[in-house]
């Protein structure tokens, strides 16, 4: 398997034959570029990489990268990813979800993945709209957002996914911007080497239904090196700088929080013998 993928990559790189159907100007292109640039550097690991997606415009990303992938259903990226990882902890898993997927339909899974510290990378393509179903509000749309399900403007405050993740016990909490590929690529790279649940909320303009490029271009600032990434209070404070509303002084991007805790897989599987045979392991422990 690994060999096949390797030779395939030598020939075609990460390209697939799928026709890209994202709208012109879609922020997903930025995420794809960042992801590919990271993967191109880590060719040796491509055979053990699995991308898992939800349902939505974001999900098509798995069609556009020539690695193993599992297209799951709307909202269920994380439990599928968790199943793959538990059965074969040697695999590296990157989950791609939409904000509808991650913060609406599948929000319970997000809280639990953070709580358990599952060893996964989770990238939320946060366009703050349901893109594929053509422009309804989501949990991170700003109050007053006029979408197809909220023609008079949403009456709900959005929630702040970074604070949600901090409160849920996530060990790696970051925010990127699809308009800054190199910065985003560095976040993905660091998330991939982080042991435990690595969460990246990516601000992804939806060119068609919620074009936020101008706003983000003006407001986004990279978090400075002095920020103490292991300080929960500092992370909490920084995450509160912008509440996903219509106004912002600055929108910090970068790593807000990173600590090392035992991962779910480390707790579940005996440390000395990383075993592929979970069934045997479970039997031994009379679960």
């Amino acid at each position: 398997m690994k060999e096949n993928i390797k030779s395939r990559h030598q020939k075609h790189g990460l390209e697939t034959s799928a026709v890209n159907t994202w709208c012109k100007g879609c922020g997903n292109f930025g995420i794809l570029t960042a992801l590919k640039s990271v993967l191109a550097k880590r060719e040796d690991t491509l055979g053990s990489l699995v991308l898992v997606s939800g349902i939505g415009c974001h999900a098509k990303i798995v069609d556009y990268v020539a690695v193993n992938s599992f297209y799951s259903i709307h909202g269920r990226v994380l439990p599928v990813a968790c199943g793959i990882k538990t059965a074969n902890p040697r695999l590296t898993i990157i989950g791609h979800a939409g904000d509808g997927d991650a913060y609406g339909e599948g929000i319970s899974h997000l809280v639990f993945a953070a709580k358990r510290n599952n060893d996964l990378v989770f990238i939320v393509h946060n366009n703050r709209v349901y893109g594929l179903t053509t422009g309804q509000f989501t949990p991170t749309s700003p109050k007053g957002f006029k979408g197809r399900s909220t023609p008079k403007g949403s009456i709900e405050e959005p929630f702040n996914p970074l604070r949600l993740m901090l409160a849920s016990g996530a060990t790696f909490v970051a925010r990127g911007y699809a308009g800054k590929h190199a910065h985003l690529a560095s976040l993905i790279e660091q998330a991939m080497v982080h042991p435990g649940f690595a969460f990246i909320d990516v601000l992804q303009p939806c060119f068609t239904f919620y074009n936020t490029y101008k706003f983000y271009n003006e407001k986004v600032v990279e978090i400075r090196d002095e920020h103490p990434v292991d300080d929960f209070d500092a992370a909490w404070k920084l995450a509160g700088k912008w509440d996903y509303g219509l106004e912002a002084d600055q929108i910090p991007i970068g790593i807000f929080y990173r600590i090392r805790k035992d991962t779910y897989e480390e707790e579940l599987l005996p440390k000395e013998t990383p075993s592929l045979d979970v069934a045997l392991h479970l039997k031994r422990h009379h679960f």
Binding site: I55, G104, T133
Partner: protein, 392 residues
């Protein structure tokens, strides 16, 4: 009587829900149902309909909110499709046995995997036994009419059950058809205000949804079964009155050139219109064939169906749902059961067609009828047959 205008069927359905004066609409978008609830969001927002629209976070939440809103005494509508309908599944059994009336339009769509947004009936067949009254529309006008009928029947105190109106995704939901929408006065005269038998009322406290210990669970379920069986009378009467009010007649099953036909094709939903064309063509060629379409799926109109196919020798039943490992499609199974041990019963052959948006053409219907007639002389190898499978 309102004017006949060309309008997208989803929009017309939303307008019918407005005319029915729905009060609470919890909804979550999913193709191909989305236009219905989006249009409702719009008409609630611009004040045309005095209702609350809740853009919930999932279908599970939508159906739960529907139950709560009916319990509090509101007239409730929602809509879903496919995986969304399945996500409601945990709750769907609850309003029916709890006798909480509401109306849902299901824009029928295939189930994943593989992912498909296109039409068939697999989503609703998963929910066959939820105990809701269920009808299937053939065209846009019928979709609108069945929605009005559904509010009238569901909320009738003798019924007090939730109702699903099935419309084929895309082939109905997304097409523009000439549709006549009645006036508000006409609808008000047909659908009386909702007066629930029981509701959460601080002046008269009740407990809704308690545990059914083994001593009462069976009785609760049997009471539900009686209610849906007895709803038949109300369903028929509401259709009769619909004809009096609006001039369009509906019956649980409809026949098309079926009288005296040796072979009868059986369909449900929008493919029936193509099936009629196929029957016309075969009749022109001198074949003694006809069509019976099922409009009322639950409670199943056994009596009417038997009457409509009384002299037939062969039934060719088309299911839009593949039941892997079963002995035939769900509609086919129903029909085989109602004719079991009935003297002179027709031979029944089960076909599956039109999965995941595959067109069922006139030629396919001809093939189905031809095959059913052949099989009546020489037993087929399989208990059901999938039509139109590509060999490569």
């Amino acid at each position: 009587m309102g004017k006949r205008i060309g309008v997208e069927v989803s929009i017309a359905i939303a307008d019918a829900v407005k005319l029915a004066r729905a009060e609470v609409i919890p909804a979550y978008p999913i193709t191909p149902q989305t236009h219905i609830v989006e249009h409702l969001a719009e008409i609630v927002a611009n004040g045309e309909l005095d209702a609350e629209y809740i853009p919930v976070e999932s279908e599970h939440a939508a159906m739960s909110a529907c139950c709560g809103a009916v319990a509090a005494g509101a007239r409730v509508f929602t809509s879903s499709s496919s995986q969304g309908l399945s996500l409601m599944s945990e709750i769907l059994y609850i309003p029916s046995t709890m006798r909480l009336p509401m109306v849902m339009v299901v824009a029928n769509r295939a189930m994943s995997a593989p992912i498909s947004i296109w039409n068939d009936h697999q989503d609703i067949m998963v929910q066959r036994d939820i105990g809701w009254i269920q009808t299937f529309a053939e065209n846009g006008q019928e979709a609108v009419d069945l929605v009005l009928h559904a509010f009238r029947v569901a909320e009738d105190r003798r019924v007090s059950l939730p109702m699903i109106v099935n419309i084929d995704g895309f082939t109905l939901s997304h097409v523009i058809e000439p549709i006549e929408l009645p006036t508000q006065e006409e609808v008000d005269a047909y659908i009386p205000p909702f007066k629930p038998k029981r509701k959460l009322d601080p002046r008269k406290p009740v407990t809704m949804g308690p545990v059914g210990i083994p001593e009462v669970y069976t009785e609760a379920k049997v009471a539900h079964d009686h209610a849906i069986k007895n709803s038949r009378k109300v369903i028929l009467k509401a259709w009769k009155e619909f004809a009096d009010h609006f001039g369009r007649e509906y019956h649980p099953v409809e026949s098309y050139k079926a009288e005296g036909a040796d072979t009868i094709l059986v369909t449900m939903g929008s493919i029936s219109e193509t099936a009629m064309t196929a029957i016309d063509k075969m009749r022109d060629e001198g074949r003694n064939v006809g069509l019976v379409r099922i409009r009322l799926w639950r409670p199943f109109p056994a009596q009417e169906f038997r009457a409509a196919t009384k002299h037939a020798k062969v039934l060719a039943v088309v299911d839009r749902c593949l039941p892997p490992g079963a002995v035939c499609g769900p509609v086919g199974a129903e029909l085989r059961s109602i004719f079991y041990k009935i003297p002179g019963a027709p031979k029944i052959f089960s076909f599956v067609a039109g999965l995941g948006g595959r067109d069922v053409t006139v030629e396919r219907f001809e093939e189905i009828i031809d095959k059913a007639e052949q099989y009546s002389k020489r037993r087929p190898k399989e208990l059901y047959e999938v039509i139109g499978v590509r060999e490569k």
